[in-house]
């Protein structure tokens, strides 16, 4: 299990938070998703053997949140 934190461009509408939570949790390898609306961060706990951070980043972009930086721990 690994953690990745994406710092994204500010969220505007909190409904996008629910969207991201919903979509992300169905992605392969994702174990837990936490979206911090105010801090504009998306924290994902994922299994590095089945999930790929690049893919997650692509999905965030598709959902209209530009990724500014990411940190894997």
């Amino acid at each position: 299990m690994k953690n990745i934190t994406f710092q994204v461009d500010d969220f505007i509408c909190p409904s996008c938070v629910q969207k991201i939570e919903k979509v992300m949790s169905t992605q392969p390898g994702v174990n837990e998703v936490k979206v911090l609306f105010n801090a504009a961060k998306v924290k994902i706990k994922f299994d590095e053997t089945t999930g790929s951070p690049e893919e997650y980043e692509g999905i965030l972009t598709k959902l209209g949140s530009d990724v500014l930086s990411k940190k894997i721990s």
Partner: protein, 632 residues
């Protein structure tokens, strides 16, 4: 979304719409229609793109609904409406982005205080490295005007340090050898050599940032309810829109529903207030751990204070020693030895005094036992020594004559704590320990009472000392001689009688009580991880007078949240009524919607400027240094 180009896009579209309106005014309809089209496509493209991308992930987004509404409007020839809707949508999100940034500015300004570089000594040479590369045990040099790059202990030098990053207090604090310094604080003048103890994510500064970040996203109760409501809002509006279309065949009406289907103001109403409120506190060294705690703090009816270290300074000192057939130094030496394992603050006073008199030793006692709320028993050179209070002596049949009783009584009336020392059943002496009452305590209590709060004191100390301190600070209800679990029981009892209880302590000795209270408040949280973990509200500076402001801020935040929610709900009702009565159409629907979101955000921004009212200046004169800051 690239916001820079977004700003440009907004202005270009705006100009288009104005031009089109001018053409419309001179009845050059074809030209105005063409320009409206251009504006719609310009502003609509990013919206449609977002909508399409979300669709590929099986998400029905607000952008999609707006896109459908706009295509519908073009279809029925409402070109000005379609242009206005797309323009207002991107203008709205642009402005919301800018204003939301402001509500989060507190955290950003805290982030800006993070240290960037460190001056360390490697192989006898000074070099500058990135602050995040500092390792534990590194020796750091910090000069005037520089930031402390890690938490650590001063080994050499002397300086005045501005600890605003941690405590919110800008008055510089004097630091010398053995003092603790914190990452993010700035040396005002002087020079320090520091041994790094906590680095990276473990520093107090990093912990504050994480805590505030998490807190701002901890939902308030009301918010959870609103969010549930919002989850159903969009789908129900959609169903309504389709239903209306089937029944009335009124395409304009159906499209308008789509435009107002985002519950923006509603969902954002609570979080923006919480962010602004918590942010305001964080800048002043007040950490409130989230929305729900803010709500509870606003409703507190009774505040319980611990005595030692909370109402008093918490630096107990030996004030007098009475001996019986033993010398003062012998008594001190044996007491210090017996207490050497003790965590108790009274033990610390005895150990300090022994060290001062030069009678401290490194010998450890055998069979050391702590009796909570009574004292300790330890064996020294085969003799059993008892150190503790009256309960301890009574429990072990130590004889106490009338003279001694009188002496203890007098000491306690003076607000001192009398610690009795006995060898077996023979009383050998009494060490009186006193602790200064905080200069700001009485005024703080007065303000709390003025705000309609009940105030009580809970202490493990004896009745008479408690009475003296309580009288001095203006607390009429106090409970003395309490064991930690009795403090907890007392709080539960108050809660059972329907009161919201706040407990103020130092967060270390009274962790159970702080955890039990509806709102646990720890003072002097800087550098004490335990306090930061157990308490709901942490006052980083060891300054009690921040307490009334903290409660005022919580109330102001809750008020702000209620205003926002009331406003947002009213707007939803207004929009629905307006749409159904056909007074609100596409453009006006979008306008009202975007405006309501902005107003909610702007209302929350007012909280950032919230300052306490009616605070009389409290003199806490601790050799104040007046320095002219060379930076804003």
């Amino acid at each position: 979304m690239k916001w820079l180009s977004k700003g440009k896009l907004v202005s270009v579209t705006g100009v288009c719409i104005i031009t089109a309106l001018v053409f419309q005014f001179i009845h050059f309809t074809i030209m105005s229609d063409i320009i409206f089209w251009i504006a719609t496509i310009l502003a609509g493209y990013p919206i449609a793109k977002n909508a399409f991308q979300a669709i590929t992930l099986k998400v029905i987004s607000i952008e999609l609904l707006v896109t459908v509404a706009v295509i519908g409007a073009l279809f029925i020839g409402e070109y000005s409406e379609s242009a206005a809707v797309t323009f207002l949508f991107i203008l709205g999100s642009y402005l919301e982005h800018r204003t939301l940034e402001k509500t989060r500015s507190s955290l950003k300004s805290l982030l800006d205080l993070a240290p960037l570089e460190a001056r360390i000594v490697k192989d006898g040479k000074e070099e500058i490295i990135a602050a995040e590369d500092v390792q534990e045990k590194d020796i750091l040099f910090i000069h005037s005007g520089e930031k402390v790059p890690a938490d650590g202990r001063v080994i050499d030098g002397e300086a005045h340090v501005n600890e605003a990053a941690i405590t919110g207090e800008s008055i510089p604090v004097q630091k010398k050898a053995n003092d603790k310094v914190f990452s993010g604080t700035i040396i005002d003048n002087g020079y320090l050599k520091v041994e790094a103890q906590k680095v990276g994510e473990d520093t107090t500064f990093s912990k504050i940032l994480q805590l505030v970040e998490e807190a701002q996203d901890t939902k308030a109760k009301t918010q959870k309810f609103i969010e549930k409501f919002a989850t159903y809002y969009t789908p129900s509006i959609l169903v309504l829109s389709i239903g209306v279309f089937i029944i009335t065949r009124d395409i304009r009406l159906a499209l308008t529903f789509l435009v107002i289907s985002c519950p923006g103001a509603l969902v954002i109403s609570a979080p923006v207030s919480i962010v602004a409120g918590i942010g305001n506190g964080a800048k002043r060294g007040i950490l409130i751990k989230g929305g729900e705690i803010t709500e509870r703090a606003a409703k507190l009816s009774i505040i319980a204070f611990d005595k030692t270290g909370t109402l008093t300074v918490g630096k107990p000192q030996v004030a007098a020693i009475k001996t019986i057939e033993i010398t003062e130094n012998e008594l001190l030496a044996v007491s210090a030895k017996a207490e050497s394992f003790s965590e108790h603050h009274l033990a610390r006073a005895i150990l300090d005094e022994a060290a001062k008199k030069g009678v401290a030793s490194n010998e450890k006692p055998e069979n050391f036992q702590v009796f909570k709320g009574m004292g300790v028993i330890a064996s020294i050179d085969g003799n059993s020594w008892l150190i503790g209070n009256r309960k301890m002596m009574a429990h072990n049949q130590v004889k106490i004559n009338d003279d001694i009783e009188q002496y203890v009584y007098n000491e306690e009336v003076r607000g001192r704590t009398a610690v009795m020392i006995a060898n077996g059943q023979q009383l050998k002496g009494i060490i009186s320990i006193s602790d200064r009452i905080r200069p700001e305590a009485a005024e703080t209590i007065r303000l709390l009472k003025k705000a309609g709060k009940k105030v009580i004191m809970l202490t493990g100390d004896n009745e008479r000392t408690a009475a003296t301190v309580a009288a001095e600070v203006g607390i009429s209800d106090y409970f003395a001689g309490l064991l930690p679990e009795q403090k907890v029981a007392k709080i539960k009892e108050l809660q059972a009688s329907g009161l919201m209880v706040g407990m103020v302590g130092d967060g270390i000795n009274d962790a159970p009580a702080i955890a039990t209270a509806d709102v646990g408040i720890a003072m002097g949280g800087a550098g004490t991880d335990a306090a930061m973990e157990t308490a709901d509200i942490i006052l980083m500076a060891d300054r009690m007078e921040k307490l009334p402001f903290t409660l005022n801020l919580a109330q102001a935040t809750v008020r702000n949240m209620q205003q926002n929610m009331f406003f947002a709900v009213s707007i939803v009702i207004l929009l629905l009524v307006g749409v159904l009565s056909k007074t609100v159409f596409l453009a006006s629907g979008m306008l009202i919607h975007e405006l309501s979101v902005l107003i909610v955000i702007l209302n929350a921004i007012r909280l950032l400027k919230f300052k306490s009212t009616g605070r009389s200046p409290i003199n806490t004169n601790t050799n104040v240094f007046v320095t002219i800051p060379n930076q804003k």
